[in-house]
């Protein structure tokens, strides 16, 4: 039996304080992943008044099992790295709001961050590091049945599909990794891919071959997810013949990539064709005083170490901006 222990289970030296509605912060950092936390540490060390608003601490890193390319650690669990980042950030008296997403950013000389629960916080500058979220299929049944058979995290939820029939949507690396995890335990796994081939790395496609309970449907797309309390079936369409059929499955794992969390800044800063925030090499967006870092930006290669570096850069740019204003 495995035990994936993170060493710092309880940190008692945390000094973070609740966000203050009456205060005008020098900088408010939106997001909770490596870019945001690195930016926070840099801002606090610079001595500027910083606030940190996020849905969760850790972002995608918290969902990652093993990390082998963050320097200083040959191997570290995602959750352990998050604890180290968070511990380092919370040793400062930073303003912290956790649990509510940012729904709106108001630009102006004084900027405002609006959260989903209606809380509003003010700042001279903003760093957007809101990251990516799982891309949705946007088909009927998906939202209603999320958590009831529609799933996005195969390592988490695979054990709940032991002996069941499941579908995996997406033929990229994440999709095929999910399919392999599921094939070990499920009765049957059907991979649904819209293209005419799988785009996953060769090592993964080779690894698929050892399972005889896996089926691949190329050139198919999902039209609908059906079920009441839980998923019962998925309707797929053959994109060549146009014919539709229903697959009898109890679960569907959606692995069709990621999309940036930029709904709250549409019309405020320039976005590119992928919906990412366009930044220059010092993390400036098209709006003065608003900076961005990490996976949410147009910077290529979504990596933890890159996000962290960009977060540092955004913080230094923001500090520079505050000084000059």
């Amino acid at each position: 039996m495995e035990f994936n222990l993170s060493l710092s289970a309880v940190a008692t030296d945390h000094r973070a304080v609740p966000m203050d509605k009456n205060k005008v912060y020098d900088v408010i950092i939106a997001g909770g992943g490596p870019a945001a936390m690195t930016a926070a540490v840099y801002c606090m060390r610079k001595g500027v008044a910083a606030g940190f608003v996020t849905v969760d601490i850790g972002g995608q890193v918290g969902e990652t099992s093993g990390i082998e390319n963050y320097l200083g650690f040959n191997y570290i669990e995602g959750s352990q790295l998050v604890e180290k980042f968070a511990g380092q950030m919370k040793q400062f008296e930073i303003g912290l709001s956790e649990g509510y997403a940012v729904t709106e950013i108001k630009d102006g000389r004084e900027k405002e961050v609006v959260l989903e629960n209606g809380d509003r916080y003010r700042a001279k500058s903003i760093i957007l590091a809101t990251g990516n979220r799982w891309r949705k299929l946007n088909v009927p049944g998906e939202t209603e049945l999320t958590g009831r058979g529609v799933a996005y995290c195969a390592i988490c939820d695979a054990p709940l599909f032991a002996g069941k029939k499941v579908a995996v949507v997406g033929g990229g690396n994440t999709g095929i990794e999910s399919a392999i995890d599921l094939a070990k335990i499920a009765e049957k796994v059907t991979v649904i891919q819209i293209l005419d081939r799988l785009t996953a790395d060769k090592v993964l496609i080779d690894a698929m071959q050892q399972f005889n309970n896996m089926e691949v449907l190329l050139l198919h797309e999902v039209k609908e997810i059906q079920g009441d309390k839980t998923v019962h079936a998925v309707v797929v369409k053959d994109t060549v013949s146009g014919g539709e059929k229903s697959l009898d499955v109890q679960g569907i794992f959606i692995s069709i990539g990621l999309m940036p969390n930029t709904d709250m800044v549409k019309g405020v800063v320039e976005l590119n064709g992928f919906g990412e925030i366009v930044v220059d090499c010092s993390c400036k967006t098209s709006a003065p005083g608003i900076f961005a870092a990490g996976d949410v930006t147009s910077v290529p290669y979504k990596q933890i170490i890159i996000a962290a570096g960009e977060g540092a850069k955004a913080a230094l740019s923001a500090c520079d901006y505050i000084l000059k204003e």
Binding site: E2, N4, A9, V10, Y152, C153, D157, P159, L160
Partner: protein, 213 residues
Amino acid sequence: MSLFDDKVKKQLQEALKPMVNNVNLALFTQTLECNTCRDTHLFLGEISELSDKLTLTVWNFQTDKDKAEQYGVDKIPAIVVLDSENRDHGIKFYGLPGGYEINSFIRIILEMSGLKEQLPDDLMKRIQGIKKDIHIQVFISLTCPYCPDAVSAAHRLALESEHIKADMVESSTFVPLAIKFNVSSVPKTVINGTQEFVGTNPLGKVLDFIEKV
């Protein structure tokens, strides 16, 4: 055969070092142990050896009925985490907290021992404002990296409020219960069987759900 290798043993010893007061772990099992009951028994036996502040009491679910009733244990294996005075705070683990879940187990042991992060005043006020009996069940799998956060949030609320009880439920050990609550993604938190959410939420947001009950 032991569950922990030397490396894990050392890590656990290190993690338990900051314990302030004693903590008593009460295991409910039965004479002819089910597989997970036996593993959980073994697990608790080994872990309680790793700190002189940890003790283990083993109860028989079938013959010690009064104890099971006292702690509200309705299935096994069950671990009840008790404080140094053997007081019950409504904190339980149903199933073996292995894999990633070892983190929520160590965390509540440390918190129960008195080592805990202070909660902001506004949260404490909200927790103290809860006067209804609340029962939180957090369904998890052992391979889920962020499930321990959901369990720890529920346990912390139970620790701070005499009206709140919180269970970790290992979904593969208690399949019928997981099916009853349509668990197909974890962590899934169910409050009094009516309010529910999937994923992790900080204490404030969990309280939003509790206040809706």
